[in-house]
Every structure is written in structure tokens, then in C-alpha cells.
């Protein structure tokens, strides 16, 4: 916690200045402007005519009752949809990614090729993979229905992207397919860093594969895995393109980003849309702080054990 004093501090600030300026320009300015717009009645057709209206876009009350983003049931549905999406998809991706990483860790012929091939879903642009999944999940001529019918698992074709009960599942499946390789890659990188000595020692002590994983490998890769989960969760909170292509217009799968875009672009309501965008930003910021606090607490807890 020693602060550089005098000359040292000045040099430090000078070295930091370019980064800080760039950050202020590319992140700070747009963010400040979005928050400003969220306090106005700006309309996309004529941004110059925006008037300051205070927190009315967020929450206000007139003779009809409450209105604003926070009083919109659709916004809360979007919050719920996004949360469900993040929790389910990130959990599945982490578990599957870890399993794939463990397989790829083992030595077998053609391992390099398989490691590269696994990354293909991650390399395909989301727009393309979403459209591809849209066709595969099509209720009348989709591959998935055909396959499941042939296997006798379903009696009649299911409307994957249209049925309110299935649409979110379809979105999650497509996302898990796409992003599991990313989690596998990060898990594999963590596994490579586990010292062979530890594993050898565990074997000498007579621990089986499961025990070795549970008590040696997992604790050692946990910090890296946590970072991967945080990265992935923050990214998933912004989910937009997959939902926009796979289930356009549906309120059953509307995420916070889709909600904000609808207000900003479809309705041209820059003020209200900016309020939704700002709320999404605060939501993600709160999650980030939460994760940071948790990850700081954990090593102490681990040391105590």
C-alpha cells in the first residue's frame, strides 16, 4: 500500500496518462453521454431538441400510477430472462468445458487436431451460428425435430423457437454449443499449469483419479476457473445477437440488451432506451463488484481450511 511520493508519483501519473485518456475517450465519454441521455426526453430523429426531465425515464408517477423503466413489467421480465440465461448457460458451459478440457488433457493420437477442432463453434460469428441453429430447430423442416422423431423421442415436431416453454431452452442450447469451447480452452490452460509433482505425489499416496481431481486438481485450477466464470458471466449478461436472430420479437426470451435496443432503435426513444442501457450497465457493474468481493474473500477462506 506504499504510495509513490513526489517525483515517483509524477512519473507514475505520466506513464498512466495515455491509458487514462484513452479509457476516458472510448469508455468514459459514451457512458457519461448515455447516462445524460437517460435523464432527457431525447428522440433519435432530433437529438438536439432533448430536454432534461430528471429521473422520469427510470421511475415517475402521474395520475395513472407509476411509469418508467423500473415500473415496466417487460423490463423485469427481461431482467429475469437474462438472469435465467446467465445462470443456466454459464453453469452448463463451465461443467461441459471442464469435462472437455480433462479429455483434451489426456495424451492420445491426433490431440492437437482435436484441440483445434473443438474451437470451431467459438470461431463462427454468432449471427451465423444463430441462423444455423434457427434452421436446425425449425419446426417443419428442421434437422433436430427429424432426428428426435426418428429416434422416437418425440411423437410430433416441436416448435422450438416459437413455443413459449421451449424458446429459452433453444437459446441456451445454441449458446452452450457456441461458448463451451471457450470455457474448455480456459480450463485446459488452467490444467496445464497444475504441477506434475502434485499429481505424482497424490498417486504415490494412493489417491484414485476422482480423489486426485477433487482434492488436488480442482483446488489448484479454481482461481483460473473463477476468472473464466466471471468473464463468461459478464459477457452473457449482455446477450443480444443470438436472441435477436433466433427468436426475434418474442417477450419470452427478451434480454435486457434486446429491451434497450427495442426502445432505442424501434421506438427511437433515446431517453428511455438510455435509461434501460444505464440500468444494464449498473447491473453489470454491481455483478462485477460482487464477483470481485467474492474472489477476494475466497483465498482467505481457502487458507483457513
Amino acid at each position: 500500500m506504499n504510495r509513490p511520493a513526489g517525483e515517483g508519483a509524477r512519473v507514475a501519473w505520466m506513464l498512466l496518462a495515455p491509458t487514462l485518456i484513452v479509457l476516458a475517450l472510448v469508455a468514459g465519454w459514451p457512458l457519461a453521454r448515455t447516462i445524460w441521455f437517460s435523464l432527457t426526453d431525447a428522440h433519435l430523429a432530433d437529438l438536439g431538441a432533448a430536454r432534461f426531465i430528471g429521473p422520469e425515464n427510470y421511475l415517475a408517477r402521474d395520475e395513472d400510477g407509476w411509469f418508467g423503466v423500473l415500473a415496466d413489467p417487460l423490463w423485469w421480465r427481461a431482467v429475469r430472462n437474462t438472469s435465467v440465461f446467465v445462470i443456466v448457460s454459464v453453469t452448463l458451459e463451465t461443467l461441459l468445458g471442464l469435462v472437455i478440457a480433462l479429455v483434451l488433457q489426456a495424451r492420445f493420437p491426433g490431440r492437437a487436431l482435436v484441440r483445434a477442432a473443438v474451437l470451431i463453434p467459438w470461431a463462427i460469428p454468432t449471427i451465423v451460428s444463430a441462423q444455423m441453429w434457427g434452421w436446425m430447430l425449425h419446426d417443419q423442416f428442421g434437422l433436430i425435430n427429424d432426428l428426435l422423431m426418428r429416434l422416437g423421442l418425440i411423437g410430433h415436431p416441436l416448435a422450438w423457437t416459437a413455443d413459449p416453454g421451449l424458446a429459452m431452452g433453444a437459446v441456451i442450447v445454441a449458446d452452450v454449443w457456441k461458448t463451451t469451447p471457450f470455457m474448455a480452452l480456459l480450463s485446459l490452460a488452467a490444467l496445464q499449469l497444475v504441477p506434475v509433482e502434485c499429481l505424482d505425489a497424490a498417486r504415490v499416496d494412493g489417491a484414485g483419479a476422482v480423489r486426485t481431481f477433487r482434492h488436488v486438481t480442482l483446488p489448484l485450477i479454481l482461481p483460473a476457473l473463477t476468472v473464466a466464470v466471471i468473464f463468461r458471466s459478464l459477457d452473457a449478461l449482455r446477450i443480444f445477437d443470438l436472441i435477436y436472430v433466433l427468436t426475434p420479437g418474442s417477450e419470452q426470451t427478451m434480454s435486457m440488451s434486446v429491451y434497450a435496443r427495442q426502445q432505442l432503435v424501434d421506438f427511437q426513444d433515446v431517453g428511455y432506451g438510455s435509461a434501460a442501457s444505464s440500468l444494464l450497465f449498473f447491473f453489470i457493474a454491481a455483478c462485477t463488484i460482487g464477483f470481485m468481493v467474492l474472489s477476494r474473500l475466497r483465498p482467505t477462506a481457502g487458507a483457513a481450511r
Binding site: 433519435l44 395513472d64 416448435a159 423457437t161 416459437a162 413455443d163 449482455r238 420479437g249 424501434d266 421506438f267
Partner: protein, 425 residues
């Protein structure tokens, strides 16, 4: 690496890149066309014919096929005063929303207005300015498989109730005889502008009004509208696949044209495609007006159609207007009608023998067109997007079984009235 997801600006970016590349040489006119069915192909061939005869160049910029998504894109381009697209193809419901961004074509089309349907010219006139020229008209139509109706000795349905009964009978009989993929009726049920068009037809045919009446009053919460939606909700999962809840025009056509539906609601563009060489249902398709609401109900069809407008930010407004004049000319509209069944906006072409021979159904189009129901876009102006969005979401909820028609329409009426009060229109 985490930030690889293209955000909401992605589409905008793609188009900006496309149009920037397109705007490389000086006398080049960019025209943004739709891409539903053969739209793009015909737009390109027409624009290139103009370019060839005038010595200019044209670039055809494609846009999303869902109309509400295209509107969003155009709004961004026009709000940014982008000079990259000179001629825009705009929907019949957009003149009120986008009119300020377009050149007044009144002077350039002096003496020619009378050649077009007066309703369409009136629709495209905003505050006395003629902001767009009607290019092709559109009405909702009932496509049916005449081979299947003949086989089962059934008549073309005159009411929605008859349609359900006929569809149910044929679907059951065909499935019995091994055609397991057949469905009775496909239409546009995705939560988008197309659903508003479909719902308006159901509601208006039951005498349930037009959501917002011409004076601006919200009229959607009425027993006839409730009956219309209840009826439509009864189709989902019985005569229509549940997937219809995510179908737009092309999804419905995909099912119908591959021979897997008895009836389809669609726009006229689907005619020439269903009758094309490579269509599995070629020669087995016929069209009829959409059914009436009931014994005392009437037939209703939503007025669609597309206009051509010249951007105020164009660098070559004169050339762009000339391209519009060419594309909306009688000769070009006649070609489009014969080749791809696009309904001309000039009444005289609807009596042209060659056009009628190729498209026999133009006879009833000529009758229904003047009575086609306009969506409440003029009266709601720039709030139309929200009105339509609330409408299609309410209807979608009823169709999907998440809520019932009585509750959904009562809530829709409350929402629209609040929008109205808060300065929507």
C-alpha cells in the same frame, strides 16, 4: 476475445460499410430494396435497365426482410443524415414516420399523380408534400391447394369458421392416408409487424374496428375483437403448427410451397413463386379473398405495399428522382406484374390483358384494393411503431396461450390510451 459479440450497432455497421463501398464513384445511385421473395432480383434488374439507358450506375443495397427491422435501420441511416442511400423503398405505414427525411416529389411528378391510385397518393402525402411514389400494392390473400379441395370435394371457405372446418377435415383425411406433415393453415404469427396485419384482418372482418379509429380514439377493447382473437387462438396447435408463432412471410411460404399446408395467408408476391418451375405445388395453387368474420361479418384485408422515396441527404436528388420515375413507370410496373405478380399502383394496369392472363387473381385485387383496411399509421404518426408493437405482443400472448383475449385486449386498450395521453399522437 470476450468482446467479440457484435452488438446492436452491427447491422448498422454492415450497411454503412456496404454503402460506403457503394458510394465510390460519382454518378452512382444507391437504392435500398426489400429482399422478400423475388423483390431483390426484380429491383436489381429494373434499376440496372435504368442505369444502362441513362449511362449511370446503380448499387442495390439489401435490407432486413422483416419490415420493422428495416424501418429501424432506415431510421438510423436517416437520423445520421447519411448520403449513402439515395432511393429508399418504404412501407405503406412509414410516410408519417420518415416523411421529413425525404424530398418533396410533387413538382417532379406534376401531372402524373392522377395515374396512380388516389388512396396511395393520399397516404404518401405528408403536410402537403408528396414524399414517396407508390411502387407496388399489396393485400392479404388466402392461398389454397385447389387439388386438395377438389379431392375432398370441399368449397373455398367464405368465413373463418368454414376455413377452420375445411382445414381440419382435409388435414385429418390427408394424415390418415399417410401425409403426416400436412397442416391446415399457415400464416404470420411471429411477434412482428406481420402479426399486426394478420390480427387487423381477423378483427376488422368481425367488425371489431382498426385498433385506433381515424379520429385517434383507441377502440381495440370490444367483444368482437375478443371473439376474433379467441377464434385465431383456436387454430394454433389444431390446424396451424405451434411453430406458426415464429413464422414470418417466408416461413409460411416455405411450409405451403413444399406442399405441407392446405391454406396460407400471404401477400401477392408468393403467387409467382408458388407457380414457378421448381415449385412442388406448381399448378395446384389458387387464391381467394380472405374469409369473412361470420355470417354477418365482412371480408377484410390489410393494405400493404411499398413506395419509393428520395433521401434529402442524397448527393444526386435529380438522378435519384429519375430512377424513381423509371421504376414506377407503367412499363416497368407492367413488367414486374407479369414476371412476379407485383400489384401495379396504376389502376390502368389492373385491366391490362397480358397482366391479367398471368395473374388471374388481379381481378379481385382490383375490387378489394379500394376497400383494403389501412393500419392506423396516419393517425398515430411517429407513435405507430409503439402502437403496432403493443398490439402484436398482446395478440402473440393470446395465440401462445399465455393470457386470454379478454384480459389481453383490456390491457392493450389501457396501454394505448396511456400512450395517447402521454403525447403519443
Amino acid at each position: 476475445m470476450v468482446a467479440m459479440k457484435p452488438g446492436r450497432r452491427f447491422l448498422e455497421f454492415v450497411v454503412v460499410v456496404m454503402v460506403t463501398m457503394a458510394g465510390a464513384t460519382a454518378a452512382e445511385i444507391s437504392v435500398s430494396c426489400g429482399a422478400v421473395g423475388r423483390e431483390l432480383e426484380l429491383c436489381r434488374s429494373g434499376a440496372e435497365a435504368w442505369a444502362g439507358s441513362t449511362g449511370n450506375e446503380v448499387r442495390v443495397v439489401t435490407a432486413p426482410s422483416a419490415t420493422n427491422e428495416r424501418l429501424a435501420l432506415y431510421q438510423q441511416l436517416l437520423a445520421a443524415r447519411a448520403p449513402d442511400v439515395d432511393v429508399f423503398q418504404i412501407d405503406v405505414i412509414w410516410p408519417g414516420i420518415l416523411g421529413n427525411h425525404f424530398v418533396d416529389l410533387g413538382d417532379r411528378f406534376r401531372g402524373q399523380r392522377q395515374a396512380f391510385f388516389p388512396e396511395m397518393v393520399a397516404n404518401n402525402t405528408v403536410d402537403g408534400r408528396l414524399v414517396a411514389i407508390p411502387w407496388f400494392a399489396s393485400v392479404g390473400m388466402l392461398y389454397y391447394r385447389k387439388d386438395l379441395l377438389d379431392k375432398h370435394r370441399l368449397e373455398v371457405p367464405g368465413t373463418w369458421a368454414e376455413l377452420k372446418e375445411t382445414a381440419r377435415k382435409i388435414q385429418a383425411a390427408e394424415r390418415e392416408s399417410g401425409n403426416t406433415k400436412i397442416w391446415g393453415y399457415v400464416w404470420q404469427g411471429r411477434a412482428y409487424e406481420g402479426l399486426t396485419c394478420n390480427a387487423l384482418e381477423w378483427i376488422a372482418s368481425h367488425g371489431g374496428g382498426t385498433i385506433v379509429d381515424p379520429s385517434g380514439a383507441v377502440t381495440i377493447d370490444n367483444p368482437r375483437a375478443v371473439a376474433a382473437l379467441d377464434q385465431a387462438a383456436g387454430w394454433v396447435g389444431t390446424i396451424s403448427p405451434r411453430g406458426v408463432l415464429n413464422y414470418a412471410e417466408e416461413d409460411a411460404r416455405g411450409v405451403f410451397q413444399s406442399g405441407n399446408a392446405v391454406f396460407m395467408r400471404n401477400w401477392p408476391y408468393a403467387w409467382s413463386l408458388a407457380q414457378a418451375e421448381d415449385s412442388p405445388v406448381r399448378g395446384q395453387v389458387a387464391v381467394a379473398p380472405l374469409p369473412a368474420g361470420g355470417k354477418d361479418g365482412e371480408r377484410a384485408t390489410t393494405l400493404g405495399g411499398w413506395q419509393l422515396a428520395v433521401s434529402r441527404y442524397s448527393r444526386h436528388p435529380e438522378l435519384a428522382a429519375d430512377l424513381v420515375r423509371y421504376l414506377t413507370s407503367a412499363a416497368e410496373q407492367r413488367r414486374r406484374a407479369i414476371v412476379a405478380a407485383y400489384i401495379p399502383t396504376r389502376p390502368v394496369l389492373l385491366e391490362d390483358p397480358d397482366v391479367l392472363r398471368e395473374n388471374p387473381f388481379f381481378r379481385f385485387v382490383a375490387e378489394t384494393l379500394p376497400d383494403a383496411i389501412a393500419r392506423p399509421s396516419s393517425v398515430t404518426g411517429s407513435a405507430y411503431n409503439r402502437v403496432s408493437n403493443r398490439t402484436w405482443n398482446a395478440v402473440h400472448g393470446v395465440l401462445a396461450g399465455r393470457t386470454n383475449a379478454t384480459a389481453a385486449l383490456a390491457k392493450l386498450e389501457r396501454d394505448l390510451k396511456r400512450l395517447h395521453r402521454r403525447g403519443g399522437w
